[in-house]
């Protein structure tokens, strides 16, 4: 499916927002969250640029599944490191192990369901962390209310991840055309939620 000029503009705006977050939006955080958020928004930025350059065909590459785990894993690591001090090391170990597991199970051909289970566990835990943690923190009054926007971004990234994962397994929830049509809008909305949530939260 050919990418429309509007899709390119939306992805460009998403890229600019991600670039802003890397350059300005995470200043003042400690080292690990800075690295984690730089990874997350950096992948979003480069992925957005590659989508603009190559079109939606780039999503057919097998590396997309591996790269797309970097965003939720690193975002959730940053959040846990900042707000859940007692789980820092254990979550960091989980994030690194999960990434390695996804890379290995996606690189070696396997007949069983291990690759799917690995992806499901990784996205499930990381996605729920990004979705729930900011909302709980803002409800408890530990952060400003608008920090819950990061949780909304987490929900959107989860929806996007699910749509793409099912599309790649050959059992799409929506038609390929519909998924590709909403993807740029979803990515932009998600990035707006993250950037606004970190800035005003």
């Amino acid at each position: 499916m050919k990418m429309s000029p509007l899709d390119r503009v939306l992805l460009l705006v998403m890229g600019i927002l991600a670039a802003y977050q890397v350059a300005v939006g995470i200043d003042g955080f400690s080292t690990v969250p800075i690295i984690a958020y730089t990874l997350a928004f950096g992948v979003l930025l480069v992925a957005g640029l590659l989508l603009i350059i190559l079109g939606f065909e780039v999503l057919d590459s097998p590396i997309v599944v591996i790269v797309s785990t970097v965003i939720p894993l690193s975002l959730s690591t940053g959040l846990v490191w900042q707000h859940f001090a007692s789980f820092r090391i254990s979550y960091l170990v989980f994030a690194i192990t999960s990434f390695l597991a996804v890379t290995v199970t996606r690189s070696i051909p396997m007949q069983n369901k291990l690759p799917v289970i690995t992806i499901a566990i990784t996205h499930g835990i990381a996605g729920m962390t990004i979705f729930l943690l900011p909302i709980i923190l803002s409800i408890q009054g530990l952060t400003k209310p608008l920090f819950s926007l990061v949780g909304a971004g987490g929900a959107l990234i989860g929806i996007g991840g699910l749509l793409l994962s099912f599309l790649k397994t050959g059992r799409p929830i929506l038609s390929r055309e519909m998924i590709l049509k909403i993807l740029p809008r979803l990515l932009l909305l998600m990035t707006i939620c993250f950037v606004a949530g970190f800035k005003y939260g």
């Binding site: 350059a23 300005v24 730089t38 190559l54």
Partner: protein, 296 residues
């Protein structure tokens, strides 16, 4: 009848201006101009002058456009043999040869003259860029050796060096590093083109890296030069005094370039070549924008 003649004359003039404009390769000239402006802004001149900035933009654009037009005039015979370039106004015969030569000379003289009038040292660097491009690269080496692109690269690196020299009044290590960044970036552009249009170059008897050393060596050269370009830009960014946030962003963009360089080496394909080619242009434009924003 007179009204009709006037209308037709206006259309002719408009189409001629459009042809002249296309001879200057506006996108390429624009990107090189952007590097010159970024070089000037990177100097963080103590006394910022809008007049100087406009003078820099005007003189550089005229000099770059002039040398581009002269290159097209010189290469019109080989352009006519290549599918990619045979529709250019020079090779398609839409503009007379003498007219193209005249246009190239006028633009170059105006650009270099304006540059020298602004600042002799800056003017010499602009002239050096013109000389390396038109005389050394196009007229002397392009048809003799595939290594001619190094000189083409050096001329491409001159605008950023000139811009910084105009701002500082001298050439410093940061200016040289920025220029090296451009020099190493240019092969990602030219070598990708020479792979994509290999047959064209062979038909026109222009030696290229792929025809001389093979595709493997060419891809490795592209990968190494991309890595070096990214490294130079990060080092220059650090030297300019970029904040950590901007350095992080430059690092992220450089990582994208490195990733594609690795992909072109280990998993080469037409698509990866094309994406590296496009990404490298975006990378350089983004790096220049970062330098400018940082300096403001």
């Amino acid at each position: 009848m007179t009204a009709l003649a006037t209308q037709s004359e206006t259309i002719n003039r408009k189409s001629k201006i459009a042809l002249y404009w296309s001879l200057t390769k506006p996108l390429q000239s624009g990107l090189l101009l952007a590097t010159g402006l970024a070089g000037y802004m990177s100097a963080r001149c103590p006394i910022f002058s809008m007049g100087t900035l406009l003078g820099l933009a005007g003189s550089l654009f005229l000099a770059i456009a002039g040398s581009t037009v002269l290159n097209m005039w010189w290469d019109r015979d080989i352009d006519a043999k290549m599918v990619r370039t045979k529709k250019r106004p020079t090779s398609a015969g839409q503009v007379a040869e003498r007219e193209v030569l005249r246009l190239g000379l006028i633009l170059s003289i105006l650009g270099i003259g304006w540059a020298v009038a602004m600042n002799a040292f800056y003017g010499i660097i602009v002239f050096a860029g013109f000389f390396f491009d038109v005389v050394i690269y196009s007229m002397w080496l392009k048809r003799r050796t595939c290594w001619g692109i190094v000189w083409g690269g050096i001329s491409g690196a001159m605008p950023i060096l000139a811009g910084r020299a105009l701002g500082l009044g001298a050439v410093d290590w940061i200016g040289i590093t920025l220029a090296l960044g451009i020099l190493f970036w240019i092969p990602t552009h030219t070598l990708t083109f020479s792979m994509k249009f290999a047959k064209d170059y062979t038909d026109a008897c222009v030696p290229t890296f792929p025809s001389t050393y093979g595709l493997g060596v060419t891809r490795a050269t592209i990968a190494i030069s991309s890595v070096l370009a990214a490294l130079m830009m990060v080092v220059a960014g650090y030297g300019i005094g970029m904040t950590w946030g901007f350095l992080r962003l430059l690092g992220v963009l450089s990582a994208g370039l490195l990733m594609l360089a690795i992909a072109i080496t280990f998993n080469p394909s037409e698509r990866v070549n094309f994406s590296l080619f496009k990404y490298a242009s975006l990378y350089m434009l983004a790096a220049m924008i970062l330098v400018v924003i940082e300096a403001m």
